[in-house]
Symmetry: C2
DNA sequence: TGTACATCAGTGAACGCGCGTTCACTGATGTAC
DNA sequence: TGTACATCAGTGAACGCGCGTTCACTGATGTAC
């Protein structure tokens, strides 16, 4: 068996295409990226693309698959805090999401853009949000149990929290920074979100 | 002078194209809309479009111009409350923005989509946000003056507030409702946002 | 008021550009004997 | 181990579809005299 068999070569090219796609998506956005932009970035011929993916959408689906796989690995992280009447639990979740988003910024941005144009990806994005929300739902019981009042019913409260984190991450981690702004450090961002959300959800100062 | 002169006819057609565009944008989104979708919806020939607009972008710019014009009219509304240490002032601003967004949902959605693909519109959207933020900046002085602590520095605090309102409005007023959700009434939405934001900004319960 | 000509909004078939996709070809890797 | 053939990843020029854009034409409105 030679140092570089056919399987290996194919796997290598496929990986190069995915890596190139992530770079190009980050640079010009999913919607503005042409197939040939990806193959050029990967240093392959245009036709090579179709040996590996049926379309740009299929490639994005593959990237999302990778993301889900890597998510499953880190999901078992210990230290999971679940009592949202404690600011530390809120911060822990904010940190987790922030780190996740930072890792997968290019893919998340691509997904958002694809969702604007394609119903399938819109559903993917919605169910991603729903699964995040489901993880949190239980944690809010402790808030009401501790005698605090949520700002709205549970679903809307979680939705507001999720939208805030997600859009904030989107803005600072997956978009060109607006002119005249200095991006917050990770700590500043996490702290700002934690305060706003803890206060918003519980009505307590922090 | 005849009942329908050339000027009038041209104005009518231009108006019909803009109205048709808003309807089609609302239905399928800006990016998925073809020039011929707009002319068909308006009941005109494809070529007619170019008597009035140089491109789809130019049409969107025209819609944004109309929006700015109608915004200026209603900007002088009385009852402007500016002391954000008072929840009523927060609610007043949330209501204003909610009503604005409801009125212009199709155009705002189109702008968002265009901004994903086109740097000029990205800047337009950013400066729209910045002008909203600038209107608010002064109101937060009263919060700190009243001895309350903002969740972050002024800019980030305003940004979080703005993102929350804007995305929430975007979701419920300018997008197809996600399956399995019942959209909140206007009052519910305004109330939920007001609580979350007032608490988030001031650290006081409400 | 009437006639002849000019202008212009609107039309829709045709054109052509951009880009996704194909496919005949190359050369390297794998297999059979 | 060697030879002949099969398979397959990669190539890039060419094809063709979709859609934005043009333009010669029509008929109605405006103007000149």
């Amino acid at each position: 068996m030679p140092a570089t068999g056919r399987r290996e070569q194919a796997a290598e090219t496929q990986h190069a295409l995915k890596a190139a796609a992530r770079r190009v998506f980050a640079r010009k956005g999913y919607l503005n990226t042409k197939i040939t932009d990806i193959t050029a970035e990967a240093g392959r011929a245009a036709g090579s693309f179709y040996n590996h993916f049926a379309s740009k959408e299929a490639l994005l689906s593959a990237l999302l698959g990778d993301l889900a796989a890597s998510g499953d690995e880190s999901a078992v992280t210990e230290g999971h805090l679940s009592d949202f009447s404690d600011p530390a639990a809120v911060r822990w979740h904010v940190e987790q999401y922030w780190a996740f988003y930072k890792e997968h910024a290019a893919t998340m941005r691509a997904l958002r853009q694809a969702a604007m144009v394609n119903d399938d990806f819109a559903r993917t994005l919605a169910s991603f949000g729903a699964s995040q929300a489901a993880d949190i739902a239980g944690h809010l019981d402790r808030v009401t149990a501790a005698g605090m009042r949520l700002p709205a019913d549970t679903d809307l409260s979680i939705l507001m929290m999720y939208q805030l984190i997600d859009n904030f991450a989107q803005m600072w981690l997956a978009s060109p920074a607006p002119v005249g702004w200095t991006p917050p450090t990770d700590d500043e961002a996490v702290e700002a979100l934690t305060r706003f959300i803890y206060r918003g959800l519980t009505g307590r100062d922090y």
